[in-house]
C-alpha cells in the first residue's frame, strides 16, 4: 500500500532523513520508534506532503502512485491521514463544522455530492460513541482550550470520521493518561481492517501494549537501523536506545 524508497529529506538545507526504506501493506500495523531527533516526525510530515520539508532523493508511493507532485489535500483525499503530535487550534470553527468541511471537500474531489445532513449526523453519532466523546465536545472550537488528552482523542475521532487508508499516528500516546490511552487505543483497534494500515510513531513501548504492531522499526539519525517483530519494542524498553546507537556506530 505505502512504499518508501531511499527517501532523503531536508529542512532548511539540513538533511534529516537519510535514505528511508519502508513498505507497509494493507492490514498491517507498523511501529516506528527511536530517540528524540531521529527524524520520526519529519517522516510523518514528509509522507503527508508538508512542503516545509524538501524531498531531495527517493520516492513515496501510495498504491503504486508516486506522490511527488501530489498536494497535501490530494494525499488526504487518497487516504493519507496524520494524527498530529501538536494539533493546532482554529478558533470559532467547531469540531463538527471542521469535519463536515473535510468530508465534503474529499467527496467533492471524488465528484460526489455533499454528504446529506442525516448521514453526517449518523456518522458523527457512531464515531463519537466509538471514542466515548461527549457530544457537547463536538460543538466546541477545534482544539481551543482542549486538554492534551482531548486533543489526541479528537485526532482519532477525525481519523474515524475520514476512514483513511494509511493512518500515521505521531506520538498519539504522549499526554494521555492511562484511561484515555485505553480509549484511544481501542478506537484505533476497532478502525483497523484488512484494507487499511496504521503507522505508529512513538518513544515508548506503552502504546504498543494496546495496539500490537506487526513490525517495529527503529529510526536513528535519519535511517531505519533495525526492524523486527513486536518483541523488538520490548528489547528497546529494556536496553534503551544507547544499545542500538552503539551497535550502529560500529
Amino acid at each position: 500500500m505505502l512504499k518508501i524508497n531511499d527517501l532523503h529529506a531536508n529542512v532548511d538545507d539540513k538533511e534529516i532523513l537519510k535514505g528511508i526504506n519502508l513498505e507497509v501493506k494493507a492490514g498491517e500495523v507498523h511501529a516506528i520508534m527511536g530517540p528524540n531527533g531521529s527524524g520520526k516526525s519529519t517522516l510523518a510530515s514528509v509522507i503527508s506532503g508538508n512542503e516545509n520539508f524538501e524531498v531531495t532523493q527517493g520516492s513515496i508511493e501510495l498504491n503504486g502512485e508516486d506522490l511527488e507532485d501530489v498536494s497535501p489535500e490530494e494525499r488526504a483525499h487518497k487516504g493519507v491521514f496524520l494524527s498530529f503530535q501538536y494539533p493546532v487550534e482554529i478558533p470559532g470553527v467547531s469540531v463538527t463544522n471542521f469535519m463536515k468541511t473535510a468530508i465534503n471537500e474529499s467527496r467533492k474531489a471524488k465528484g460526489l455530492e455533499d454528504m446529506p445532513a442525516k448521514d453526517m449526523l449518523k456518522l458523527i453519532r457512531e464515531k463519537s460513541e466509538l471514542l466515548e466523546i461527549d457530544r457537547k465536545f463536538l460543538s466546541r472550537s477545534l482544539n481551543e482550550g482542549f486538554s492534551g488528552g482531548e486533543k489526541k482523542r479528537n485526532e482519532i475521532f477525525q481519523m474515524a470520521m475520514l476512514e483513511p487508508k494509511v493512518a500515521i499516528l505521531d506520538e498519539t500516546d504522549s499526554g494521555l493518561d492511562i484511561d484515555a490511552l485505553r480509549i484511544v487505543a481501542s478506537g484505533v483497534n476497532k478502525l483497523k481492517s484488512k484494507d487499511n494500515a496504521v503507522i505508529l510513531i512513538t518513544h515508548y513501548q506503552r502504546l504498543l501494549e494496546y495496539i500490537v504492531p506487526d513490525y517495529v522499526h527503529v529510526l536513528h539519525n535519519g535511517k531505519i537501523v533495525k526492524s523486527g517483530g513486536k518483541e523488538l519494542a520490548l528489547e528497546l524498553e529494556e536496553k534503551g536506545y544507547d544499545w542500538l546507537k552503539q551497535e550502529t556506530a560500529v
Binding site: S48, G49, N50, E51, N52, S71, P72, E73, R75, A76, H77, V80, F81, L82, F84, P87, V88, I90, P91, G92, V93, N97, F98, T101, A102, E105, S106, A109, S141, Q158, L162
Partner: protein, 481 residues
Amino acid sequence: MAYTEEELKKELETKEYEYGFYTEIESETFPNGLNEEIVIAISKKKGEPEWMTLWRLEAFKYWKEMEEPEWANVHYEKPDFQAISYYSAPKKADPNKTLDDVDPELLEMYKKLGISVDEQKKLQNVAVDIVMDSVSVATTFKKTLAEKGIIFCSISEAIKDHPELVKKYIGSVVPKRDNFYAALNSAVFSDGSFCYIPKGVRCPMELSTYFRINQAGTGQFERTLVIADEDSYVSYLEGCTAPSRDENQLHAAVVELVALDGAEIKYSTVQNWFPGNKEGKGGVFNFVTKRAICEKNAKVSWTQVETGSAVTWKYPSCILKGDNSIGEFYSIAVTNNYQQADTGTKMVHIGKNTKSTIISKGISAGKSQNSYRGLVQVNSRADRARNFSQCDSLLMGNECGAHTFPYIEAKNKSAMIEHEATTSKIGEDQIFYCNQRGIDTEKAIALIVNGFSKEVLNKLPMEFAVEAQKLLEISLEGSVG
C-alpha cells in the same frame, strides 16, 4: 499545493473584483461642480417643497466653511468636489413601476450580483427598496407594510407625502453641520430610504435596500432615516456592491436612526463597494456618518460587514440618551491589497443604567491598513453605565497593518468599562492542518476567517449571513487554478 507565506500572499494579490462590470443604462446627469444653483436644481428636479430647498441651502452654507477631516489613519488624494456630478438618475425610473416592469438589463445586473430580484420576490419576508444610482426603481411589499401603518419608501417620496415626520426628524440625529461629509450630504443628497414604524408595531419582515453606484464619475449621496416609534421593532438590511471603475468615486451617506421609548432597531449592513484594483488604483471613497439616538429603554444594534471601498471612514454610533437604553456594535472589516479602513463606533452614555457592547473584528491582507477607532463616553449623570469592548485583529502576510485606537472618557464614578483586544495571524501550521484533512488552502482561509468572524456573523439575519460569508470568501481568496 501546500501553503507557504509567499504563496498565500500571491494568492491574495490575484483576487479581482468579482462584481466589476458595467451596465449600459441611459442616465440623466448634471454637469460637474457644486454651487447654490446646483443645490437648488437638485431640489427642484426632485419636486421638493421650499422648506427642503432652504434646508439644503443652509447645509451648503455650512459645508463651504468646513474642512475635510484629517485625523483618520487613512491617506488618499482628496476628491475635487468641483469635478463631481451631484445628480444622476436612471432615465427609465418610474415610481409606479412594479418589479415586472423593471428594465431587464437591471434585473440581469442583480442576477450577476447573486441578488436577483426574482429570487427576492420569492423570499417572502424581505421587502426590497432598490436604489439604483440615485432614484428608487422598484419598491415591493409596500401594501403589506401599509396595512400595519408602516411607511417604507424613498426619502424623496417621504418628503412629499410625510413632510411632518421628515421635518421633525431629519438632521435631528446627525445635524447639518455635524461634519464635512454630513454637511455635503445634507446639501446634495440624491435619494435614500425612509422608514417609519408606528407605536407598538413589530415590523413583520426584514426591510432591505441594495445600493449601487453605476455612473462613471457620479458621487452618490444616500440619505436614510429610520424612525421607530414607542415600543416598536424593526430590522433593516442594507447591502451594496459597485461596478469596477477607473477613477475614484465618492460616497458620502448619512443614516439617522431614531429609537423612541422602548423601541428596538437592528440595522445590518453588508458593504462591498469597489475596493480598487490590486495596484490600489480606483475604488470607492466611503465617508459615511451613521448615528442612532436611543430614548428611554430603547435599543439599537449596528451590525456591519465591510469588505469593499478603497478608503473607508465610518463610525456607526449610538447616543444613549434615555435611561436603560442599549447600544450595540458588531463589525467585521476586511481590507486587502491597498485598501484602507478607519472604522469603529461611538457610544455616548447620557442616561442612567445605559449599556453598550462593541465587538469589532478586523481582517487585513495584502498591503492594506485596517484601523479600529472607538469612543466610549460616559457623561456625568450616566450612573451605572456599562460598556464592554472587544477588538480582534487577524493578519495575513507581513505587509498589512492592524491598528486599534480606543478612546475612553468616563465622567461618572459608577461607570464600568471593559476593553479587550487581540491580534493574531493565520498560521502556516493552521493551513497545513486543514490541508492534511483534505481542505485546500483557499477553503482553509475561508474557514479560519469565518471562525474568527463568527460572533459577528451570528448577529446577522439568516439570509444575510450566508451572503456575508460568501463575500468574506470572495474578498480574501485568490482564483482557483
